[in-house]
């Protein structure tokens, strides 16, 4: 039974043996039982800084392994196997509660008031009157690895659109979006629709195990175009962040050589939801495309995510944040469903709608109009 679990620690005596004379790992290498060298010393120091009491001997022994495993358990890194890979290294380099999620100073400036955690041990901003500006939704919430989230669930449609480097890591290709978010959160359901007819992309997800604030934080660290290389990352005086993305590939066969993105500070609405806006264009200063994400907390924990991307006219009222939010707060329906959300999301300014639910609804209306009705 003992040996059933992969890398049984009991068999690991043998692993460790081989390591007694282990070759020091290359810089940035995965550290595991048997590793030794200055990287292990660094690791042990960092672990001790988090409350462990390890001997600093530069050897990754059983005690270090257990300390790493405990860290992984606490930070939601799975599997918690005591092997210090990149994710664990990232968790070590990002303290839990100092709000280092945003690099931009304007985001750090405003920290939300916190209240007692509900579903997770992560504070969530209170419902406050609508406000705009550099209100970081996470600040004291720490980073993703602090959420004790488990990795599971993936929506391929979500994945296909949101591949992008890790924001705030200029020049790096980084992990694609689906690895950063979809795998980290338990995406319990969702639907999406992409139509070339309208160039509107819509997606909805129920994210079961993340607070709205933290999910917005994560979204706001992403580039929204498909995967590529971030260059010229800048924080602008108006609180927005701009960067040039040199895409590695585009969905739908587009072949842009670069995309300028402008990301606006998240806007918190009166009901505690967050709206995130990103403008994209093939040249600086215009808004050929715009994406909005509405992240709405669910009463029982987790949140709903409504996303929409479209080629837009910047002055279109349809795409103002307020209008977007109004359309999606769904007070009367409030549910993620084909009949509710999609109906509304895909109703265009000219009154036409697309999508099966809309079509069904419109057909029903048309039938009703054609029907003479009862006569008295």
């Amino acid at each position: 039974m003992i040996s059933r679990i992969g890398g049984s620690r009991f068999d690991s005596g043998a692993q460790w043996d081989a390591s007694a004379v282990a070759v020091p790992p290359a810089s940035g290498a995965v550290l595991r039982l048997g590793s030794s060298g200055p990287e292990v010393v660094e690791l042990q120091k960092k672990l001790n800084g988090l409350g462990e009491n390890l001997p600093i001997n530069g050897t990754f022994g059983p005690r270090t392994q257990e300390a790493v495993r405990r860290l992984q358990l606490a930070r939601g890194i799975r599997p918690a196997n005591g092997i210090a890979g990149p994710e664990t290294a990232a968790a070590l380099s990002r303290p839990r509660a100092d709000g280092t999620m945003f690099q931009a100073s304007s985001f750090e400036a405003a920290r939300p008031r916190t209240r007692a955690p509900v579903a997770l041990s992560v504070p969530e901003p209170p419902a406050t009157p609508a406000r705009t500006g550099g209100a970081a939704p996470n600040a004291s919430a720490g980073n993703l690895d602090d959420l004790q989230l488990r990795v599971f669930g993936r929506d391929t449609r979500w994945k296909s659109f949101h591949q992008g480097p890790h924001f705030g890591d200029p020049g790096a290709t980084g992990a694609p979006f689906h690895e950063r978010v979809s795998q980290r959160y338990f995406v319990a359901g969702g639907n999406s629709l992409f139509t070339t007819r309208s160039s509107i992309y819509t997606e909805t997800h129920v994210v079961a195990n993340a607070t709205a604030a933290n999910l917005v934080s994560e979204l706001s660290k992403q580039t929204f175009w498909s995967g590529g290389r971030v260059e010229d990352w800048r924080e602008q005086p108006d609180g927005t962040r701009t960067y040039v993305l040199k895409p590695a590939g585009q969905p739908g066969g587009l072949a842009l050589v670069e995309v300028h993105e402008r990301m606006y500070p998240p806007l918190q609405l009166a009901d505690g939801s967050w709206v995130l806006r990103v403008d994209m264009s093939p040249r600086e200063g215009s808004a050929a495309g715009r994406a909005y994400f509405l992240v709405k907390p669910r009463p029982g924990g987790g949140c709903d995510v409504y996303g929409r991307f479209a080629d837009v006219d910047e002055n279109s009222a349809l795409f103002s944040p307020e209008d977007f939010a109004r359309n999606h707060l769904l007070g009367e329906r409030g549910r993620l469903s084909e009949g509710g959300l999609t109906n509304r999301l895909l109703r265009l300014p000219d009154g036409t709608g697309i999508g099966p639910a809309v079509q069904r609804a419109e057909a029903a209306t048309a039938r009703q109009r054609r029907s003479p009705g009862p006569s008295f």
Binding site: M1, I2, R4, I5, G6, R9, F10, S12, G13, A14, W16, D17, A20, V21, N53, P55, N57, T59, G61, P62, R63, Q65, E66, R69, R70, L73, G76, R78, P79, A80, A119, L120, L149, R150, V151, F152, G153, F186, A208, N209, G300, G301, G302
Partner: protein
């Protein structure tokens, strides 16, 4: 079942029951990756109804099934199940209890320390209890593990030595005593025990520890 019911885990929505049953099935899939994915899914569960449904299912499972599930869930970090593992760690079912002990260790469930220490002292699933104690980071387990170094079964001795390598000694005095006891194991008839004891010596700062590891290896 009684435990679950005594905790008020009786009424779950049908959907939760269905989901719990589906995950149960996946936990028994022939592919380890699927089993682990199901474990991750369960570990992600925040819905109390689903957790309850799952625990109820676990309560009614056979020993072998419960043992398999426990190990997978422990690996996946299903911390919601730790209280159940602890409560059902009984002397009646050795197979399931051994797995529960391992799962409690993997989940680093500190509240399990007294139960596991007792199990080690009473020679009930001693190997698993010893392994789990090393994972809890509870220095109070050190005396029990030191006693287990004299166990007749070499697996238990090796497990105890390895777990001692993972734990800090509560005091300087105990540290010295521990090193002394571990040094005595350098003449143990089992090579595995000699290696684990040497590793523990090294981890406890014995200047001769590394040489002991080399000696045990060759």
């Amino acid at each position: 079942m009684e435990i679950a019911q005594s905790r008020g885990m009786t009424a779950q929505p049908p959907a939760a029951r269905k989901a719990g049953a589906a995950l149960w099935k996946l936990l028994e899939d022939r592919l380890p990756s699927v089993r682990l994915a199901a474990g991750f899914a369960l570990a992600s569960v925040r819905d109390p109804a689903l957790v309850q449904a799952f625990i109820l299912d676990l309560a009614g499972a056979s020993s072998a099934r419960a043992a398999r599930a426990a190990l997978t869930l422990g690996e996946a970090g299903f911390q919601n199940a730790a209280p159940y593992f602890l409560a059902t760690f009984t002397r009646k079912d050795r197979k399931a209890s051994a797995a529960f002990a391992r799962a409690l260790g993997m989940l680093a469930e500190k509240s399990a320390a007294p139960v596991l220490i007792e199990a080690l002292d009473d020679d009930f699933v001693p190997t698993e209890a010893a392994i789990a104690l090393g994972q809890l980071n509870e220095p109070q387990a050190v005396p029990a593990l030191v006693r287990a170094l004299s166990h007749r079964d070499e697996s238990v001795r090796a497990a105890a030595a390895y777990s001692l390598a993972c734990l800090p000694a509560p005091s300087e005095e105990q540290e010295r005593a521990l090193r002394q006891r571990l040094t005595e194991l350098s003449s143990d008839r089992s090579r595995r025990v000699r290696i684990c004891a040497a590793v523990a010596r090294y981890e406890h700062g014995d200047p001769e520890g590394l040489a002991a590891v080399h000696a045990a290896l060759h």
